[in-house]
Symmetry: C2
Subunit: 438 residues, 2 copies
């Protein structure tokens, strides 16, 4: 019979790959818990309407939708697999908004699907870590979510020489663009162009600017603003150009920067006026995380979204957060040779030396497991060389041999696989203190 | 704007519920790892064909299928959300069957969906723990998977007085049925009837037997066999009735029973000839786990399936395993008041006593988090009573107060929330040894 393949652009997690996924998830989880965030989750699917209302068109076009059971099923009950978590977050918070103590500090580690074209760093199923603070307009909240991302990356062995957080502010960009002569109708087109900056040739970028209908003098001023490498440079530029209207947003972003330094993330972060984020719902500071060699797509992206709750029928509430996927992160860790060993680890492997002892083996493994030791066994006697090789394959720290002369003497033989030493120990004593080797 | 609800018969996991889900998952995972099983996972969806080939009709009727992107999409590329893990397990093992060291001992903790009618113990999205051994025909493998289930339940605080494993053997049932005069064509109808035993009135059961076309003398003998409460009783019955053909299966099940006792699970398990399992693919020992009061649906079910790999195009390979869902288990733990506290836990909550100190707070929380402590903070000074209440809400073990006279002296005030004691400590010393309270 023909074999059936797994679904294309989705991954099978054999134990080796699963250990790596769990390793990443664990670092995400621990960094979140250390910062006082609480884990949440939503169903794998939501009513389609939730995505239609909140997300950009790009994401709605990538939805896996559920086939309706009945041909005449109502449209408003159609469902889709979640392509991101923010709509579910907004829905769940809106449902209990008054009752939840503020600020709401939540994280999730979530499976999601998008029907995109498969390519490097893009799969149709992936895991995303989301960290959000809702109910705090304070710039320390922006800095805190960034520092949680940095702490997780740092705990995985990545350094500020390998990874950087580029931050900006949508409010600041809007104020600067308005001051240099971009109308509010032209702004979305400019953001779309800025989002492509560095990803497409300078020529093509100028064409995008031209399409929006900007005079070349305005484009030059935008390019100059884009060239600012720090908030000081931007302030000097604004002062030279006698711009106004940007001061509040600048002061806010300076506070975010100050908080980042105090939280120990200063070396990881730099101001980059080119970061604007595609999604329409960002309203303040925004950021993206990249590998410094910029070989890969963004590791993470996020920002402040103060209008999100209103969109799902909740009360207005400030919010800030980010999402980090597992795919690009996994590639970066692999490229930098920072993935941990994916080998299995076992404490004990128990082998019967003759078939009569197979029943005694069961009592021994039960005692070892009760003592919390990770224990596997051979269900029958066999070629000892092969069985020892099996123990090695399983990463066993110790092998317990049941049978032979030792058994006749009421003893077990214990082999330490690391030090390659052996010891003989009485069965009774071993069952009472299974962690002792001699 | 109107609020959008979550999908019906699926659960939102607010942090309290999430902590309980993770608690259950952790007990499942630890019991599996202690027994030397390795974790795996598959995509949330598979090609429809995989389920059509392996699963019973009941499950295929409950699939959530993905709407095709193009109206003329080929049928063989249609996908469905996984309703169980066994088909994915078989597919993944078949793909690497020769290369995987045997026995293959795998477990998974998996989200899955079925479009069933919602009711107590049945939701449309749930988590299931699967534990499987492939490549071992040995009865110790059957006993081992059962003992892993028992160990997990025991680690959650359940006892053999509250929960029991009822085991039987499909081979044994088939031999007994054949010996008392049931033809192999009649057997599926009998299994369907036996599966309803105890769930429907005796009258209705006799009708089901009658429909299969059995003489009432045969039904009487089946009822007598069903009344056997142990393997000894069944053996005596077979001997009285001068039956033959059942001895091999009986001997095999006796070995499973012996292994269960040696693994310390004897008190939890009893032979029950009424356990036959609905699914067609079981080929040997089968079992289900129930609360002893039998108020709820089965907690888990499983058995031996030696033909599964062949169905997905693999080589024949013996297998045994079970699935345990989170919904019924959660209900039982709740009914027995054995769920752990779902309250949040925090090590430190740091409060600025005046707004100038909000920046110093950031340095302190960064140091605490670097030391591995779960730390949250107030981003601004405020009503101290309210902030202390917030610390309590968050389950903080300690509160660190930054400001006031202590700050002027270069110190911090530390409040131990359990013992309700206070101490003053130098900022420098605290930042060097953040775990020390005095």
């Amino acid at each position: 019979m023909e074999k059936i393949p797994g679904v294309k652009y989705m991954r099978d997690f054999y134990p080796e790959e699963m250990r790596l996924r769990l390793w990443i998830e664990d670092h995400w989880r621990q960094a979140s818990l250390r910062a006082g965030f609480q884990e949440w989750d939503s169903p794998i699917m939501e009513y389609l309407e939730l995505y239609a209302r909140k997300s950009g068109d790009e994401i709605v076009g990538q939805l896996f939708t559920i086939a309706p059971r009945d041909a005449d099923a109502k449209d408003d009950k159609r469902m889709a697999i979640r392509p991101e978590m923010t709509p579910s977050l907004a829905r769940m918070i809106a449902a209990r908004q008054a009752a939840l103590p503020k600020p709401i500090k939540w994280f999730c580690i979530s499976r999601m699907c998008r029907s995109e074209r498969g390519q490097r760093g893009r799969l149709r199923e992936f895991w995303q870590w989301n960290v959000d603070v809702l109910g705090s307009p304070d710039p320390t909240a922006d800095a805190e979510v960034i520092s949680v991302a940095v702490n997780a990356l740092s705990s995985m062995g990545l350094t500020s020489e390998e990874v950087e957080v580029r931050f900006n502010s949508r409010t600041l960009s809007a104020a600067i663009l308005a001051a240099v002569g971009v109308s509010s109708e032209q702004q979305p087109g400019i953001y779309a162009a800025l989002d492509k900056r560095g990803k497409i040739p300078a020529e093509a970028l100028r064409e995008m600017f031209a399409k929006v209908g900007l005079e070349s003098a305005v484009v030059d001023r935008i390019e100059e603003a884009m060239g600012c490498k720090s908030l000081d440079e931007l302030e000097a530029f604004a002062s030279n150009q006698k711009l106004s209207g940007h001061k509040e947003a600048l002061a806010n972003l300076r506070e975010v920067e100050r908080a980042l330094a105090l939280l120990g993330a200063g070396d990881w972060c730099r101001f980059d006026p080119g970061i604007v984020r595609g999604l329409a719902y960002y309203t303040g500071p925004v950021f993206e995380i990249f590998d410094r060699k910029a070989n890969l797509r963004a590791l993470a992206g996020g920002g402040r979204y103060d209008n999100l709750l209103s969109v799902v029928g909740g009360q207005p509430m400030p919010g800030v957060g980010f999402g980090m996927g597992d795919v690009v992160l996994g590639e970066l860790l692999k490229d930098l040779d920072k993935l941990p060993s994916s080998a299995m680890e076992l404490d004990d492997f128990v082998i019967p030396l003759d078939d009569e002892r197979k029943w005694d083996v069961l009592e021994i493994i039960a005692a070892l497991r009760r003592a919390g030791r990770r224990t596997d066994y051979a269900s029958a006697a066999g070629n000892l060389g092969k069985l020892m090789k099996r123990a090695d394959q399983l990463g066993a720290a110790r092998v317990v041999l049941v049978g032979g002369d030792e058994w006749t003497r009421g003893n077990l033989k214990i082999k330490d696989m690391k030090n390659r030493t052996e010891a003989e120990i009485a069965v009774k004593e071993f069952l009472t203190h299974p962690a002792r080797s001699s």
